[in-house]
């Protein structure tokens, strides 16, 4: 019986020849990632459980990115970063990217890719639900809580239930003005926020393999919005080149067998896609932009691990170039590397940063910022009953701050077009 790519990687991690969905296995973890919200409690559980002699199983395999609550005066939030800082010092953790230094990276999932931690065929666990983002590199990656992370920190091992896989094939070529965000919103609308629970979402097809690394990460990033354990795309040459530029590690490429078993297969024609939004208050409350266009907005937000990558800003800049936004619009580069690129990349000879500033956007520093609301002084945080369109990944009640706010999720193109009119706008109508 054939295996899916997810099953093959888990079998390797469990030291077995094969695994079947539903089976519980103990895995050897290649990388454990944590951040400022879940790192401190993880460390405290690890200390409590392993006692005086607590030892990190493999220092090289632990990666810590403070990224969530960074530019805030909240004393508790700052204390959390302080905890990470002294932990890194006390235990000599090399892969710690401290705030306030030039090592600071920004949002963990993007930084993992940029810093060469995403390696095809490997197993990554992180204390963040969007750890599934790394699946764009043909690897198994998933989120866990603090207790599981503390267990990994001490042992390098964790149990996992082998998931059934769902296969999403996108044939053909994507029309212009359609991005990976529109693809994943369609999937969410079709299978709902529950449709992937304890399952793997595997993506393939011409339209997928024509996507850039950034765009692939948008797809796998939102696998968790369907409740999935992981999202995964087989690594191809585009991924291999990206990885080789950033890491010297050897890697193994895995592919799903032709006779691998899937719980269900979905086929989409890329050419039939149109811009989509997820309406308040759930990522699966999906509709076409055409059906909701005209909805008045109070704020636009382009940022996060989903929609704050370089490709997202390049898309947005093409609209914003030479135009003025009608409502406050926030540009939050996911990582400091992306922030630097904003000053280097140009559209018609003008840097992206300058384009955004000239169109009256607020360009913020790299962090999770208002993607998850955050402390009260977080830039871009939703206030009162604001109506926001955002490139982020969640619009549950209160996710971006105020419980009374309403958040629409959309592609960077749709958000940029909407910023220029102050109402939800189909990017195809605007051009």
């Amino acid at each position: 019986m054939g295996m899916t790519i997810t099953e093959k990687i888990l079998a390797k991690g469990a030291g077995k020849n094969s695994v079947v969905p539903g089976e519980n296995v103990w895995l050897n973890v290649d990388v454990l990632m944590t951040h400022d919200v879940c790192g401190p409690p993880t460390i405290s559980i690890w200390k409590k459980e392993f006692g005086e002699k607590a030892k990190i199983w493999d220092k090289q395999k632990l990666v810590i990115f403070p990224d969530h609550y960074i530019f805030t005066s909240n004393p508790h939030a700052n204390r959390n970063v302080e905890v990470l800082r002294s932990f890194a010092k006390d235990y000599d953790v090399q892969n710690y990217y401290d705030v306030g230094t030039d090592r600071y990276k920004g949002v963990c999932h993007i930084a993992l890719a940029e810093e060469g931690y995403n390696i095809p065929g490997t197993i990554l666990f992180g204390t963040d639900s969007h750890t599934c983002t790394s699946g764009a590199f043909g690897m198994f990656s998933t989120g866990v809580g603090n207790t599981d992370a503390a267990f990994i920190l001490g042992t390098g091992k964790i149990w996992e239930k082998v998931p059934e896989s769902l296969l999403f094939t996108f044939d053909g070529e994507l029309p212009s003005f359609i991005t990976a965000k529109d693809l994943i919103l369609r999937v969410l609308g079709d299978i709902t926020t529950n449709g992937g629970t304890y399952r793997a979402l595997e993506f393939n097809g011409d339209a997928i393999f024509s996507l850039s690394v950034d765009e692939r990460m948008t797809l796998t990033n939102m696998a968790i919005e369907a409740g999935a354990m992981n999202g995964i795309i087989e690594a191809d040459e585009i991924i291999e080149n990206y990885v080789k530029e950033r890491s010297e590690k050897s890697y193994e490429l895995f592919q799903s067998d032709g006779d691998a078993k899937y719980k269900q297969k979905y086929h989409y024609k890329a050419s039939e896609f149109e811009p989509l939004v997820a309406k308040p208050h759930s990522p699966d409350n999906v509709d076409t932009v055409q059906n909701v266009k005209g909805r008045k907005l109070t704020k636009c937000y382009i940022g996060s691990c989903t929609g704050g990558k370089l490709s997202d800003f390049v898309s947005a800049a093409k609209f914003l170039f030479g135009n003025e936004v009608k409502v406050p619009t926030f540009i939050v580069p996911a990582s400091t590397a992306v922030a630097r690129q904003l000053e280097i990349e140009t559209v018609s000879g003008v840097s992206l940063k300058e384009i955004f500033e000239k169109s009256s956007c607020v360009v913020a520093q790299s962090s999770c910022a208002a993607c998850l609301g955050g402390p009260m002084d977080t830039i871009g945080r939703a206030k009162d009953n604001e109506i926001i369109i955002s490139t982020t990944n969640r619009n549950f009640p209160g996710r971006m701050g105020s419980k009374k706010s309403e958040v629409y999720l959309a592609s960077p193109l749709t958000v940029a077009a909407s910023a220029l009119t102050g109402e939800i706008t189909d990017p195809r109508d605007y051009m």
Binding site: N74, N80, V144, N194, G227, G401, K403
Partner: protein
Amino acid sequence: MEKTIKGKAFVLGDNIDTDQIIPAEHLVYSMSDPKESQLYGKFALSSVPQKESGLPMGNIPFVKEGEEFSEYTIIIGGSNFGCGSSREHAPFALMKAGVKAVVAESFARIYYRNSVDGGFVIPYEAKEKLNDVISTDDEVEIMLNENKLINNTTQKVYALNPLGDILPIIEAGNLFEYARKSGMIA
């Protein structure tokens, strides 16, 4: 492990996500300091929209204004309970508020793992949708050995899915105790 869990039910809708269980702005408190960590209990379920808080009527605060504990020990949810972020603070907050078990039609994976591996609250899957048939303030009782839930207010009995593979972890207390018992760690 206790054999029965008894208490007042607090009923919620489908897709209760972790931001509703414990809003992100509260994730900064220490989880190990006994006093500070009680703040998680105080703010548990504080982002559930008012009209959906305590069904079927709604508008029932899970934790009363100014208090740190809830009078409810059993939560009855619908499908996909605990979806969203990986924050272990979610089942932790429910435990801190005094919750012993959540009975739902289905759970999101990370929430489910966190509940069990951290030893916070028991996540029990019901064989049918119970948030339509149980009301907030009903007196309910979970019989762990028999995998059933009795509603003492209505005298109805409902079957729960056996805890299966995770039972040994729940019985041990948490993942670490389980690993110690089975000799995986010292």
